[in-house]
């Protein structure tokens, strides 16, 4: 029988497991071969034949890797290693040079990994969380850490290209281009005159007005300085715009790279099916589970999971036996509930719309009432995000989906609500800035934006995003202090039926992740108008990490119901991508369509933010211009498009071939098993007939 070396080695491993623990005298067909590996009873034998030839063939990376992954006892591995080292393989000098290089490269990689692990944030904390609360909660904190790093690197990007040059050139005092335009449009007075009561500083800190408005925090403070020296030129508006664009592309690349690793797992293992009992039995126990309380909870978790699966199975059976009338009733119920939940969501949107309009019209009020009006959109959004998902959860229960589908449906509704409510807020703002799109009517006639309410509309939008971020953070802290800690104290110290029923706070991963996605989306929509927002968000997420960790360990118990699909990293990243899409739409529209404020900011002289790019383009040398034209022209882009189509077809074909080969191999496995059964029976029959003959 001709066998490839790969199959032979896997078979030998299989034989090894059979022999190593075998105490029975049942001789299966496979064991009839001369024992080529260790057996339990004999002193350690060593096989000189096949493995080493294979390893020599495989090349320089072969031997140490194989040793570590061989399922032999340690003493044997060390003996094998000694023998390997004593053997001097007869190879060409080029081969040995290659092997030496590969070995040193591997050592370098491992020391590099060790060095980098020194820098990885919070790894011990994450281990502790994973051990005590399981993988689902740990994935939330891993996601949070990813966002912290993303925001920090974005801030470094913005600081390096926009902030620091602005500071340098402002202090140097480079010349500004004088802007021309109607006088009324160029008025911009961010600092109120007269006596400022000291608590106004606090109010200004919270709402981004006053001393904070005319600072590096917001768009309005940056100037359109264009430094042109003998051998150095720096164009701040161009840098501002290109940094914002590159920031978005960079975030997209990070998300996609991270999704790639998660997607590989999802594609390889397929969607998790309900009732996968064998997997639950063998892979659900987390060996890293520490502590008595955690293991008891884990056991309850598994028990609950199995019960839920059994219940889902019985529900499926029941659903399959519904009569036509019952089916009609069920589907009409589902449709009406869907309509109801949509109605609730639209009511929330209408509330946000009205609140934003009201807030923008009454933004010039002072004092605490003014602060309340300023924060009105944030308050309405947060209230909507709290109340509507609760109601949607109850509605989903009425709809009588299978438990895992219920969770997914409720989650999708929450995602929709959160992201679109932000979109409604932005749409309302846009409506007010551009007089509902009609830029040549009414208040917008003079400057093509509403200069009466918005002397510097970019700063106002930036302030809204700043307020949203701050409010989100404050609400999280407030819920922690005012709801979670008291709840735990009440439940722990006062035991009666009510408190037992309410129980300790459960750390619901999906709701918390949605909060993170919402916060990050706000940062993305506001980054163009408030360049320091990524830094603020980094600090916010770092503080949030510590606060959530504290509440997790003191107040929470792990969720009893965990559905793998909703706690997977892939799902989080897909939702984050939606938020990124919203941010991209906002930035594209603001850059291309709305006229920048004439009184402030680096783009005050330009008809649109994008127009700086063609202008700077003209200043490039002729060859660069021609090169860029060529790239944009049809003679380049059409072949490029065709090439990328070919590459994509190649990958699709490769994927389908792999899928087919996996299915074929699986069928082959089944057949081999049946072959083995058949042959074993044959041998038994033959040996019986031999016994009878004798």
């Amino acid at each position: 029988m001709a066998r490839s070396p790969q199959r032979q080695s896997s078979r030998e491993e299989y034989d090894y497991t059979e022999e190593y623990g075998s105490h029975s005298d049942q001789q299966s067909l496979r064991l009839r071969r001369v024992p080529s590996r260790v057996s339990n009873q004999n002193p350690p034998q060593f096989d000189w034949s096949s493995p080493h030839e294979e390893e020599d063939e495989e090349g320089s990376s072969g031997p140490p890797r194989d040793l570590r992954a061989t399922p032999l006892p340690m003493a044997l591995k060390r003996a094998m290693r000694q023998i390997q080292q004593m053997r001097v393989p007869v190879v060409s000098s080029r081969e040995s040079w290659k092997r030496k290089k590969a070995k040193s490269l591997r050592k370098l990689k491992e020391s590099g990994r060790g060095f980098l692990s020194f820098f990885s944030l919070w790894s011990k904390t994450l281990q502790k969380i994973g051990g005590n609360f399981g993988g689902g909660v740990q994935s939330y904190f891993l996601f949070l850490r990813f966002l912290v790093v993303l925001n920090f690197v974005s801030f470094l990007l913005i600081a390096g290209f926009v902030l620091i040059p602005s500071i340098v050139f402002r202090s140097v005092g480079s010349k500004l281009i004088n802007s021309t335009g109607p006088e009324a449009c160029m008025e911009y007075d961010p600092n109120p005159q007269g006596l400022v009561v000291f608590y106004n500083y606090f109010l200004d800190l919270l709402s981004g007005t006053g001393f904070m408005e005319y600072s590096y925090l917001f768009y309005g403070y940056y100037n359109n300085t264009m430094v042109e020296d003998v051998n150095f030129s720096y164009n701040i508006p161009l840098a501002y715009l290109l940094t914002a664009v590159f920031y978005f592309i960079f975030c997209l690349i990070c998300i996609i790279v991270r999704m790639g690793t998660a997607a590989r797992v999802v594609v390889a293992t397929g969607v998790s099916t309900v009732g996968n009992y064998s997997m639950i039995a063998f892979t659900s126990w987390d060996y890293g589970c520490l502590g008595d309380r955690a293991t008891k909870l884990k056991q309850k978790n598994i028990h609950y999971g199995l019960q839920v699966d059994l219940e889902e199975e019985s529900m499926k059976k029941r659903a399959a036996t519904l009569t036509l009338l019952q089916k009609i009733v069920l589907y009409s119920l589902r449709v009406s509930m869907c309509v109801l939940s949509l109605g609730l969501i639209i009511a929330a949107f209408f509330g946000i719309f009205k609140a934003t309009e009201f807030s923008q019209k009454n933004s010039l009020q002072g004092g605490i009432l003014g602060l309340f009006f300023e924060y009105l959109p944030s308050i309405v959004i947060t209230a909507g995000n709290f109340v509507v998902p609760l109601l949607c959860d109850q509605i989903a229960l009425i709809e009588r989906y299978a438990p895992s589908n219920t969770v997914i449906v409720a989650l999708l509704r929450s995602v929709f609500l959160r992201l679109v409510s932000l979109g409604v807020l932005l749409f309302t703002l846009w409506g007010q800035i551009t007089c509902d799109g009609a830029e040549n009517t009414g208040d917008c006639k003079l400057c093509q934006y509403n200069h009466l309410i918005y002397q510097c509309w970019e700063t106002r939008v930036g302030q809204e995003m700043y307020k949203l971020t701050l409010f989100d953070f404050l609400i999280n802290i407030a819920v922690l202090i005012l709801v979670e800690f008291p709840r735990r104290m009440v439940v722990d110290n006062w035991s009666n039926k009510l408190t037992q029923w309410v129980g300790r706070q459960e750390f619901v991963v999906s709701a918390n992740v949605l909060g993170l996605v919402y916060g990050q989306t706000v940062v993305w929509t506001g980054a163009l108008f408030c360049p320091l927002l990524p830094l603020i968000n980094t600090l916010k997420f770092i503080l949030l990490f510590y606060f959530k960790k504290i509440t997790l360990f003191y107040n929470c118990r792990p969720a009893l119901k965990t559905f793998r699909s909703t706690t997977s990293t892939f799902f989080f990243l897909v939702v984050l991508l939606f938020g990124w899409g919203l941010g991209t739409v906002v930035i594209i529209y603001s850059v291309a369509e709305i006229r920048p404020s004439m009184g402030c900011g680096p783009f005050s002289v330009f008809p649109s933010m994008w127009s700086i790019v063609p202008m700077s383009f003209q200043k490039l040398s002729i060859t660069s211009q021609e090169f860029l034209f060529f790239i944009g022209s049809q003679s380049f882009s059409i072949p490029l498009f065709a090439l990328s189509c070919v590459v994509m077809c190649y990958f699709v074909a490769l994927a389908s071939v792999y899928g087919k080969s996996v299915a074929l191999l699986r069928a082959q496995l089944k057949l081999e098993g049946r072959d083995k059964q058949f042959l074993v029976k044959q041998i038994e029959m033959l040996s019986q007939s031999q016994h009878i003959l004798n």
């Binding site: 497991t17 623990g21 060390r78 290693r81 491992e110 063998f282 199995l306 496995l669 059964q677």
Partner: protein, 187 residues
Amino acid sequence: MGNKQTIFTDEQLDAYQDCTFFTRKEILRLHGRYHELAPHLVPMDYTNDPDCKLPLALIVNMPELKENPFCNRIVESFSEDGMGNLSFNEFVDMFSVLSEMAPRELKAIYAFKIYDFNVDNYLCKEDLEKTLNRLTKEELTPEEVVLVCEKAIEEADLDGDHKLSYADFENMITRAPDFLSTFHIRI
């Protein structure tokens, strides 16, 4: 390296590094953990490979293993005599297989051994029932246990002999996305 330690020779540490997924520092740390399980039994000087084995009862007292319902089976699967007495080599081997970097195939081999309670190279119904009872701390009713075991075998059994051979087990494990992350002890 600057630090001089006299527990292992350099050659021994190199051997351990090549045969396991641990670095030198981690191996020395593991030796510390092994030593503190039985300070009077375990010598500090391993340069001449002393033959010292710790019994099962001492090993399962480690905090990482104590609460694991499969702790006895884990230690037994890695011991050469099958009774759970681990020398330092086997101790390191155990944690190497259970570490983050061990590949899926290696972990699957040892997971199969762990769940095979009667050591007959098959996961039969009794093995599964014992596994389930330990997983759920015997909170499932006996009918539910039998039902789940039947379904589990039905799902994973490829060759139709109503028990899971290693090939069936490995095939099922390749479809489990969490296996690598759950079959992992941090030390």
